[in-house]
Amino acid sequence: MSGLRIQNLSRQLGNRLLLDGLELTVAPGECLALLGPSGCGKTTTLRLVAGLDQPSSGRILLGGEDITGQPAGQRQVAMVFQSYALYPHLSVADNLALGLRVRGVPAQEREQRIATVLELLQLGNLRSRRPAQLSGGQRQRVALARALLRQPRVMLLDEPMSNLDAQLREELRPELRRLLCGAEPPVLYVTHDQQEALGLADRIAVLKDGRLQQLGLPRQLYEDPANLFVASFLGRPAINLLPAEGGRLLGLRPEHLRPTAAEGLPARLQRREWWGHQQLLLLDTPRGELRLLLPSGSEPGDSFQLDWPRACELWFEARSGERLRGFGSENTRAL
């Protein structure tokens, strides 16, 4: 099988396990996001695939070929660094040309490939600028251009948008998707921003403490999380967790709660944040403070009853964080 395959990959540093037995495959044309808090092992994974770091055990296969021991320069991988890592002393065009020149690509072909990629990223008029003379978004595009020019067998991106402001990130997301996803090389995209992962990736792998927590479609992860960590890492505002009998936790997403005329959980409005298209209500209930997301127009009043669809309940074991499946509706009243 072609594409990228990671088998039982571990990286130990001193007595700390940075990565613990990671198993992943990324199909050709697929964009897989590695999502997790800092220190979860996502960047470690990327550096191992790039060959900038060596695994303690496990294998990395690219197009069926074992590249675990290969030096970075021979792997034909391209990487976009968080800091972009543009050569500050070279112009945009020379930044792109350096790799091709050193590998002995003839001048004419070089020029043509650079022109094509500059065109694709709308950088043509910036070709003689130095990185210092570019805005953050432009630098990011140059870094992307350098990676695309490489015609890599796998594309690695390490938080490529974390240095940009929120508006620019939103603008660039569809562009990034257009450029990266669906093309032949598999894409491994590291981010700690769930919005980016949900909006950009075909599948998401959630990591914590060097371990894979869950791997699946964005929707799967959100609606059917494997454990407490995945459930609370995904979703803003965060999921409500209500302590229940038997050391269990009931997870309820803020958008699934709704005020009801019938009998339910009594709630009193404590504070309100108005977000334009939505509003977040912070409620006092006998089970603790709850977050409720409502359309911005609705006015539920100061105290009301709360209800939710039984199908949206997510049950967890409080101690281990394990998801309790097939446990639900009839037990809700035990709350």
């Binding site: 790039a50 060959g51 900038l52 970075a72 320069g73 021979q74 792997r75 991988v77 391209a78 990487m79 660094f81 968080q82 800091s83 890592a85 050569y87 500050p88 002393h89 350096l98 790799g99 050193v102 590998r103 130095r130 990185p131 210092a132 350098r146 490489r150 240095n163």
Partner: protein, 266 residues
């Protein structure tokens, strides 16, 4: 305030320049300048016309300085690179040792060095004089360059590595161009040290045509033991500082860009 600082640091230089251009009588009584006709180039003519000519000493010092600078940089760059990028347990002790060596007063070494020169027959050899000079310059050069290398983000090299550049190509296309401002300022410091060094040159060199500037200047004598040749001294120091001035002006651009290098990152 600025004028005061300028006066303080440039005043002696101008005094020296003035002394070199007037007759001894005028030097004793500057009031005579008003009368006119006391400016002279005699001091310079005497220096350049002497045998060996003063130009010879300039050349000697330039040879020692270039040799020292080249040797120092050649050794200091790989040493600084290794020190910064290899995170071994010895790293901090090596740096502390280097700092100690850089701060050590070199004057205390000249007797031991003289012994070495005798033992290995290195006396009266200009390039051999570069050996102790480079040795003494190395600690400071390594420390300066290590700081410069620490300021380079390692991702730059990793990006080049992923693009298929081997180590030599990375050094040539990425590392050295980015270090050039630091290399220029380090080179100037090393050259300056070698240009001004006195005790070692005094003990290693005895042949008149091999003297470096500081030792040559110290040998300038007046017509009698009671006459101090102020004018000749002054002319010699002026001639001796001109090449340095040129060098600094030449490299000024890269030194200044070294100061602002942090601005291009990010």
């Amino acid at each position: 305030m600025r004028a005061l600082v300028l006066l303080w640091s440039l005043g002696p230089l101008f005094l020296q320049l003035f002394s070199s251009l007037v007759t001894p009588e005028t030097l004793v009584d500057p009031g005579k300048i008003a009368g006119g006709g006391h400016w002279t180039l005699a001091n310079y003519r005497a220096l350049l016309g002497a045998s060996p000519s003063f130009g010879r000493y300039l050349l000697n010092s330039a040879v020692v300085g270039s040799g020292t600078t080249a040797l120092t940089l050649l050794l200091a760059v790989p040493c600084a690179y290794g020190l910064q990028r290899q995170r071994g347990a010895m790293r901090w002790s090596v740096m502390a040792a280097l700092l100690g060596a850089a701060l050590f007063p070199t004057v205390l070494l000249f007797l031991a060095l003289l012994g070495l020169a005798r033992r290995f027959d290195l006396g009266n050899d200009l390039l051999a004089l570069s050996l102790p000079y480079a040795g003494l310059s190395l600690p400071l050069a390594v420390l300066l360059l290590r700081t410069a290398i620490a300021d380079l983000p390692p991702e730059l090299e990793e990006a080049a590595q992923l693009e298929g550049l081997d180590f030599g190509e990375r050094v040539r296309h990425v590392l050295l161009p980015l270090l050039s401002p630091a290399l220029a300022s380090t080179a100037i410091l090393v050259f300056l040290f070698s240009w001004n060094e006195y005790p070692i040159a005094l003990t290693w060199i005895s042949r008149a045509d091999r003297l470096t500037l500081p030792t040559a200047i110290s040998r300038i004598a007046g017509s009698s033991v009671y006459a101090v040749p102020y004018g000749a001294f002054a002319a010699a120091t002026v001639l001796g500082s001109l090449p340095l001035l040129l060098l600094v002006l030449l490299f000024q651009r890269s030194i200044v860009s070294g100061l602002t290098q942090g601005a291009i990152k990010g």
